[in-house]
């Protein structure tokens, strides 16, 4: 090997990538130094993923050069990226749940006793796994089944696995989106140690701007496929950053909320469901947002699913507009006007390979059929109208939902329920995986709904979202409501303290 004294681990120059009708990357330059965490920021569609895919070899660039440690890499032969020491960790977990940590770490490169018979050298395998786990500060037993680990721990195993072979740089794509706050710090600690001890470079993609400041050294901001600039994070404020990302078009982050109405839309009394929910009581007025927050596993989703009639409950009463309703199946709850907008949009909210129109039809088909015959003309009219109102960006109602951005998919989900005349909406993580422009759109629509007297129960693990978008915020801890804050009464740290059970 010829050792080079290049300043950069990764250097990308003039990367251009065209898709039919779109210039995804326009002469983008990017450099990663050893021993730094380099954050890659931009809205959805700004070109972050495309840039990373060019680096990983998943996409071939149309123009441009890539150098790894000063050596030019043939961008038309993507396999060399892995050989050169780049490791990629994607948003979704990529581990085999049924086997243990050590086997996962050495999957496909197990130490072999006999090459002919393919017998794995178990002893060496576990010894080496133990060695690497320790080296990378992952405090786990290599014999543990991956399926038994928490999401954070699994993420750590993925990192350890990536580093078993000689890695020079690690590329992390939204690694914390699936993690809860307290365990994020563990992950950050590991990254910081690796950065200083191994002099490794990190490319870090995230939607969460706070953590960007916590962890990053430099940031490169992409907008519409162009590099807006690379900055030292300590010289940048959050406002600067947001402005550079969106090009200074949006002034205020969150809308003012209209006053709620007097009438009670939803009232829940003493809802109990096993160990998951204990004696939940709450009310939401028309035109009001009740935010529900808490740590992961505190019971937010369970509460939403119970009210949506999806999961069975042990006991409790529910009143809709003052009338008692039995806890029942989703169909009944929808008829009562309650809709649960799932956090898992892609597998529970929309059918990805069907059209916007057909997705809209799902809860509305009963209303829009007469004697079993579907009034397709009526459906078309309604969805066209809603696409217009919600500003769903798509070529037309026949576009497949899977081809839309996260924000627009969420709007399709909303359209479904608005069509079904649901007056009580339970949003579970309404803006997860949605870029900042999409978020603001979702907030704007929520605000409009409030003015029409819709009641919203917003389940969110994003405290700043809970604070800015709710009239009141209830904090869950181990399945019960610990405290309800009025708007303006609490800061994020107040919520966090209640959420972790430090104060009541």
């Amino acid at each position: 090997m010829i050792s080079t004294n290049s300043e950069f681990v990764v250097e990308m120059q003039g990367i251009t990538k065209r898709f039919p009708g779109v210039l995804a990357l326009d002469k983008v330059d990017f450099q990663l130094k050893p021993g730094e965490v380099h954050v890659l920021l931009g809205e959805n569609g700004a070109g972050k993923s495309t840039l990373i895919k060019v680096l990983s070899g998943a996409h071939l660039a149309d123009e441009g050069r890539i150098q790894i440690e000063g050596q030019a890499v043939d961008i038309s032969s993507p396999h060399s990226m892995l050989e050169k020491g780049l490791r990629f960790i994607y948003q979704e977990l990529n581990l085999v749940q049924e086997i243990d940590i050590a086997r996962n770490m050495f999957l496909g490169m197990e130490p072999i006793k006999s090459r002919f018979l393919g017998i794995i050298d178990q002893k060496t395998l576990y010894k080496r796994a133990e060695y690497y786990l320790e080296k990378f500060h992952v405090n786990l037993n290599p014999y543990c089944l991956v399926g038994d680990l928490s999401v954070t721990q699994q993420k750590m195993v993925e990192i350890a696995r990536a580093l078993v072979t000689d890695a020079k740089a690690l590329i992390l794509d939204e690694p914390t989106d699936v993690l809860e706050d307290s365990s994020r710090n563990e992950l950050f600690d590991v990254i910081r140690k690796l950065k200083t001890e191994q002099n490794m470079g990190f490319i870090y993609i995230s939607h969460r701007y706070q953590e960007v400041f916590e962890l990053g050294d430099r940031v490169t901001i992409l907008r519409d496929g162009q590099n807006v600039g690379t900055y030292l994070l300590k010289e940048l404020t959050l406002d600067d950053m947001v402005e550079k990302m969106i090009g200074g078009q949006i002034n205020r982050k969150f809308p003012n909320l209209p006053e709620p109405m007097k009438a009670e839309a939803l009232k829940v009394k003493n809802l109990v469901s096993g160990d998951l929910l204990s004696h939940i009581s709450l009310t939401v007025r028309k035109g009001e947002v009740l935010g529900i927050t808490g740590l992961m596993g505190a019971g937010k989703t369970e509460l939403g699913r119970a009210l949506g009639g999806i999961d069975r409950v042990d006991s409790g009463e529910i009143y809709i507009h003052g009338h008692s309703v039995p806890f029942s199946d989703p169909a009944t709850m929808i008829q009562c006007g309650i809709a649960y907008l799932t956090e898992d949009r892609k597998s529970e909210g929309v059918i990805l390979d069907q059209s916007i129109r057909d997705n809209y039809g799902l809860p509305n088909i009963v209303r829009l059929s007469s004697k079993g015959i579907v009034q397709y003309k009526e459906i078309d009219r309604e969805i066209d109208d809603l696409m217009d109102k919600l500003a769903i960006k798509a070529p037309g109602r026949h576009t497949l939902v899977g081809q839309l951005s996260g924000g627009n998919q969420q709007k399709v989900v909303l359209a479904k329920w608005l069509g079904a005349q649901c007056k009580i909406l339970i949003f579970d993580e309404p803006t997860r995986g949605i870029d900042i422009r999409g978020r603001l759109e979702v907030y704007r629509i929520m605000k409009e709904l409030l003015e029409q007297g819709v009641a919203i129960l917003m389940l969110t693990s994003d405290y700043s979202e809970a604070l800015s978008m709710s009239h009141r915020v209830a904090v869950l801890h181990h399945g019960s409501i610990r405290k309800i804050f009025k708007r303006g009464e609490a800061m994020e740290d107040d919520i966090l303290r209640v959420a972790i059970g430090a104060t009541a």
Partner: protein, 316 residues
């Protein structure tokens, strides 16, 4: 103009798929017409129509079940049981309408049991309907064993006579099922449930009830196919329809229906069935022996699905 095209993306995709299936059928027909003189006769085409009609009726049901995300391996056996049922009733000298009604009710009942088993036990459709395939075949043999079921009354035979009556019956079934799938709530829900049953359930669609109905449709259509087969051949044997469930699936799949649900169309299944039957007819007339016929049909199925897979990847 460009917008108009984009707006109808999925429609155009569907149309293209239908066109491809028809083009495939045309290609096969032209090749055989060039190769074999006997293939050019009108009689040949009417024969193909007559032979296709029974399988086509069954394949319509299979397509409905596939679109809704299910699978039904028992339809070949249902065909046999219903044929035996009709044959037994006729042999006993009872009126034709009784024979037909009992056969259809039997088909409906088995389909209903299929649906209930899948929905209530949670046993995967493959296993549930495979079990039912054996059970129903057993009953068909019990019913038909040692019993002479042939020489049916004229009024019954006419249903399967020539090519006109079977084609009309199959065409009628096609129109009804097509209407259900494209115009009714039941049809809309089939695509939704096959596309993602959890999303459908959370949207308030009665998933289980609908599933039972789709299996029942599959059952009653297999029953109708059994009646038609009995009328056409003018005798009944309990080994009718052996392996036909797979041919029905093949027809649906060649027509572009997804094995994983949510996508497909009943019209194209008819084309798929015609392709299979045309291949058989052509290969027989060329003088290819039956082993090689199997090889050819198997190859065509794989190639058809391969083309579909490649296109689907490209469109993503």
């Amino acid at each position: 103009m460009k917008n108009l095209i984009k707006n109808n993306q999925s429609f155009i995709q569907q149309a293209r798929k239908s066109l491809q299936a028809v083009a495939g059928l045309a290609l096969i027909t032209i090749i055989f017409m060039l190769l074999v003189p006997s293939y050019r006769s009108v009689g040949n085409f009417t024969d193909i129509l007559a032979q296709s009609s029974v399988l086509a009726i069954m394949a319509l049901g299979t397509t409905v079940v596939l679109i809704s995300g299910g699978l039904d391996l028992s339809v070949g056996s249902i065909l046999a049981l219903c044929a035996c049922m009709a044959g037994t009733v006729l042999a006993a000298g009872l009126p034709i309408w009784v024979a037909i009604s009992l056969a259809l009710i039997t088909g409906l009942a088995v389909g209903l049991i299929n649906g209930l088993t899948v929905v209530l036990t949670g046993v995967p459709p493959f296993i549930a309907t495979m079990g039912m395939m054996m059970i129903v075949r057993g009953f068909a043999e019990m019913l038909g064993k040692g019993r002479d079921m042939s020489y049916f009354p004229e009024g019954f035979k006419i249903l399967g006579a020539g090519w006109v009556a079977p084609s009309i019956i199959a065409g009628g079934a096609l129109v009804i099922i097509m209407f259900i799938m494209s115009k009714t709530k039941l049809g809309f829900n089939a695509y939704a449930i096959g596309g993602n049953s959890e999303v459908a359930r959370l949207s308030g669609i009665p998933v289980n009830r609908n599933r039972i109905i789709y299996y029942s449709i599959g059952g009653i259509l297999a029953g109708l196919a059994g009646v038609l087969e009995a009328a056409r051949l003018n005798y009944v044997e309990p080994n009718y329809g052996l392996g036909w469930e797979l041919q029905a699936i093949a027809g649906a799949v060649i027509g572009g229906t997804s094995l994983f649900g949510g996508m497909g169309g009943v019209g194209r299944t008819i084309i798929g069935v015609l392709i299979i039957r045309s291949l058989y007819a052509g290969l027989i007339q060329i003088g290819v022996d039956s082993y090689w016929q199997q090889v050819a049909i198997g190859t065509v199925i794989i190639i058809a699905v391969w083309i579909d897979t490649v296109q689907r990847k490209r469109s993503l």
